[in-house]
């Protein structure tokens, strides 16, 4: 299927200035997403995945690179210019506790975007639309005048999703939408997001640290490490044939709920993520990598295609030595 590209990100960078020096939160990330698809961005805390999501939505100003949304280069759009575009790109936040204003009722929370973008005028229409949205995300009508603190995490996350859907967006950035929830609730929300995608043709960027969630959800997966993409491939390919040493380690570190049966041997990686401040021009994963050798010190590897659609940034893979 040759779908239309809805979002293209080219060489996106976001640096923060800290007393210790430049913090490379996002450092040269590029990707494209087709309409109706899901891109999963995976990585550990501090790898820049959330910053990437927020920069794409221009909640943070990018330091460099280009963001092209629906054919428009929005990189240098001001807050005001962005405002009408907010109808088309939305976000679902991680923490269903802090992402809803505690002093607003469910009705106010869900109708806020409708009123703000003047999608509907009459009070009656707004209320009907709110009720319709509540039904879409599976919230019972009786919660309409309830405050978020009276609800559990799963229901709050449903409010967050309803808010995002209220403006009929094309793209939704989901930043760890289920990591604060219990497994049984997690499954409910994941099913809901999936259903909505099929029904409304939504495009998702799904940011998470949980590889099993991403595998279930995404068409393509990008693995990030210290602000850069180290591997990108279609979901099935990545899980069947991970190439980058970090991806391999990440996959094998997931504790699988299997007992007794044949279980893949785990590869533990040593050490912890290094500081993203003032990085030298060498492979960023080198210090934790079992395969590192002299050539890894020479330069910071770029993504290259090893098979159609499968990109890896590793000097040794490029040389064909692993």
């Amino acid at each position: 299927m040759a779908n239309k590209t809805i979002l293209e990100v080219q060489n996106l960078t976001k640096f923060f200035t800290t007393p210790a020096g430049q913090l490379h939160a996002v450092d040269g990330v590029s990707f494209k997403i087709e309409e109706g698809k899901t891109l999963g961005i995976v990585g550990e805390s501090g790898c820049g995945k959330s910053t990437t999501g927020r920069t794409i939505l221009k909640l943070l100003e990018p330091t460099g690179g280009k963001i092209i949304f629906d054919g428009k280069d929005i990189t240098s759009y001001s807050r005001k210019q962005m405002r009408p575009l907010r109808q088309e790109m939305q976000m679902v936040f991680q923490d269903p506790f802090s992402s809803l204003d505690p002093r607003q009722t469910v009705m106010q929370l869900i109708s806020e975007p409708i009123i703000e973008h003047k999608l509907l005028k009459s009070k009656k229409d707004i209320e009907d639309r709110t009720l319709e949205l509540m039904e879409t995300v599976g919230l019972a009508e009786r919660y309409i005048n309830v405050y978020p603190h009276e609800l559990d995490g799963g229901r709050r996350q449903r409010i967050g999703i309803a808010r995002a859907l209220a403006v009929n967006p094309k793209l939704i950035v989901c930043d760890e939408p289920v990591s604060a929830l219990d497994v049984s609730i997690q499954a409910q929300i994941l099913n809901l997001l999936k259903e909505l995608q099929e029904k409304m043709g939504l495009t998702y960027i799904f940011i998470t640290h949980d590889l099993s969630v991403v595998k279930y959800f995404s068409d393509d997966i990008a693995v990030m490490y210290l602000g850069q993409m180290v591997e990108k491939a279609p979901s099935d390919v990545l899980f069947a044939n991970p190439v980058h040493p970090y991806t391999k380690a990440l996959l094998s570190a997931i504790p699988l709920p299997i007992v007794g049966k044949e279980k893949p041997k785990r590869q533990l990686i040593k050490g912890e993520i290094t500081s993203p401040v003032n990085l030298p021009d060498e492979c960023r994963f080198m210090k934790r990598c079992d395969f590192a050798d002299e050539c890894c010190k020479k330069c910071n590897p770029k993504l290259h295609e090893i098979e159609p659609g499968h990109f890896v940034a590793c000097t040794r893979v490029a040389e064909g030595t692993i």
Partner: protein
Amino acid sequence: MAEDLVLDIKDLVVHYETEDADVCAVNGIDIQISKKRTLGLVGETGAGKTTTALSILNLIPNPPGVIKNGSIHLDGKDILKMSQEDLQKVRGNDVAMIFQDPMTALNPVMTVGEQIGESIMLHQNISKQEAFEKAKEMLKMVGIAESRAYDYPHQFSGGMKQRVVIAIALACSPQLLIADEPTTALDVTIQAQVLELMKQLIQEKEMAMLLITHDLGVVAEVCEDVAVMYAGRIVEKGTADDVFNHMRHPYTEGLFDSLPNLKQRGEQLVPIRGLMPDPSDLPPGCSFAPRCPYATEACTKSIPPLKSVEGSKTHFVACTAYENPDFSLRRNENGK
């Protein structure tokens, strides 16, 4: 097995009595752990896992928490009958606890070495110098260079801090280690390292461990025994093999069906419908009945007791449905 019993909880009932309601957090649970074994206590938020753990150290905040019933024997001594002073000796010395968040568990103005040393000095009659030397040994044991004993907690990363917390917990060689979601705040690669370390130390030090978690993957990795908790009761318990490969309770099945881990892309997850019941207003009979796909009239009549599965000595389940000898879970049927 019985002679090595480290922890023996019988019919524990803990309620939180607030002015609004009586919250039934733990409603009659039995747990046994013997030496060198790890029991995984699995359940969702609000199942009563943490309350169970806190009662073992008699640390339930009172008020509003009240231990209504039951006994907790630690190495033969009843914790609930001990005086405050005896309890203080037990805490940290015989039983140690690791909490979820390593960021707040350490004192930011003391060096790591001093903190480990302090916990040793509390329970053993040795000098500060000796304690510090011992602290260094402990650090080495958890895989941190001895030279870092002079560093402050903020100089450590999250995974390293959790290692320090483990070192403090193990400093007095406790018989029982209670770990409450010890790796939830850590990244997967770090989690794998820490779990590996804990597994190895349990064997080396001949301890018993109670691991509280919501992550079935972690349980599979570390635990020999598993107890599944729902609304303050244990609904199924057995060896890891019993519970993971021959599960009997519909809730256990629901938990596994909700996991995206083993699913293929495109497959629908099967969530458990509804929500955990309000612990101050539990439904009559089996607490899981309102969410259970197999529930019948009989389920709401009485609370099912834990019964042995087909005469097994290790595997127990609390489900009324098994009174019908032909009953089996959908998952098990497909497997057959």
